[in-house]
Homo-oligomer: 226 residues x 2
DNA sequence: TCCTCGACGATCAGAATTTTCACTAGCCGG
DNA sequence: CCGGCTAGTGAAAATTCTGATCGTCGAGGA
């Protein structure tokens, strides 16, 4: 798998190159937009990692030119915090996913792998259940059209519940997914987290979506039965 | 590599078995102390994962009997939170490392690998520099004999600094090790974390050990030069 | 059927930790 | 000596965890 990185900032560029190389990809790195565009149109890359902020020719311009040239490989955009609007703009131009700096290495790998796996077929970037929606790209939730701000843990928990909607998720699973923890033990972080999530997502609305399954775990479902 | 787990609590047991199996180990699981002891003395295991709390025959008893029988394989003890005293007791009896429940999967793997790697040769479990000591097992720091309580992040940071004592650690390295983050960006978490660590570890003492290397990063050293 | 007990989950407030933000101080090159 | 950049600082905000207590469901017995 060949990946092209277009990133002017040396540290980030090296970090990306090293990280992706270690993960077994073949990586090229362009330090500025024009070089990047040139390489991207000539070379045979499976994925492009593209910084939004570039001197001279910025990320959008590169992306636009690339698409005009008929190149359809998936593109992972790197954007700085508080540039969420960039994302929307980029999405319209045909970016495939976003990563907000600073980001965790595990996050980077996950996105890259996901993009490569699905190729051009975009996987749903919005999870939904009844009137509850979770936009994975914008990292934002909505219920009945009302925007809901979620913290990292809340987001992770809701994402898990939505991805496995209709299934009962045992605490141990939730713990291992959301906390990377083995739970045995004497803490009730999960209950508290569910409480917080409910307060935002269920309390002000009907019907209640997060259901407790006694002795088993939690389930998210729009089912009206009983 | 063959590992024996002795754990009565089904969830934890299954979690451990599954986790270690997936990591490529051959795993046996005993549900109670006596079974565990029997298997451990008969079978040919490279490592024992032993819960402290067991019905009938508890972890210490198993360990003791095992050592009496001349079995010298490394032992990883599982203890519940707030049982730090258990640790001391276990250490005296010849346990090799501890894991406090609940624990992260990554933590488990790290400990297991480390124990297997070093075999019977215990690697230093206390890092030190001048009169500053960091006890990795008890997760406790000490300076000039004074005990210092550290938070998770503080501990991780200090451990990193101590492990690479005398080296200048660039921010990007610290970020990737302690935060698993790519830093680019506009936050100063590292500065703040260093500040907090200094407040505990350096402010009340002399000489100052954590040095700032302008434009480069941070370094921990007892060097008196300049 | 109704009651009681015990286990499990819910809830809340407070504490601890971590992050963000705004501002200050210090170093370095010109 | 003057900016301009880098690091230090303090305080507030945000998030997460802990611990205590309360409520509720359901099994089993009266």
């Amino acid at each position: 798998m060949k990946i092209l990185i277009v990133e002017d900032e040396p540290k980030t560029g090296d970090y990306l190159r090293q990280g992706l190389t270690e993960a077994g990809f073949v990586v090229d790195l362009a330090r500025e937009g024009l070089d990047g565009l040139h390489l991207a149109t000539t070379g045979d890359y499976d994925l492009l990692v593209l910084d939004v902020m570039l001197p001279q020719m910025d990320g959008w311009a590169v992306l636009q030119a690339l698409r005009l040239a008929g190149r359809e490989m998936p593109v992972l955009f790197l954007t700085a915090r508080d540039q969420v609007e960039d994302r929307v703009r980029g999405l319209e131009l045909g970016a495939d996913d976003y990563l907000v700096k600073p980001f965790a290495y595990s996050e980077l790998l996950a996105r890259v792998r996901s993009l490569l796996r699905r190729g051009k077929t975009k996987e749903p970037e919005v999870l939904a259940c009844a009137d509850l929606e979770l936009d994975l790209l914008r990292r934002r939730a909505t219920r009945a059209g009302v925007r809901i701000d979620l913290t990292a843990k809340e987001f992770a928990l809701l994402e898990l519940l939505l991805r496995r909607r209709g299934e009962v998720l045992p605490r141990s699973l939730i713990a291992s997914q959301v906390w990377d923890m083995n739970f045995d033990s004497d803490t009730n972080v999960i209950e508290v987290a569910v409480r917080r999530l409910r307060a935002k997502v269920d309390d002000p609305f009907e019907p209640k979506l997060i259901r407790t399954v006694r002795g088993m775990g939690y389930m998210l479902d729009a089912d009206v039965s009983r």
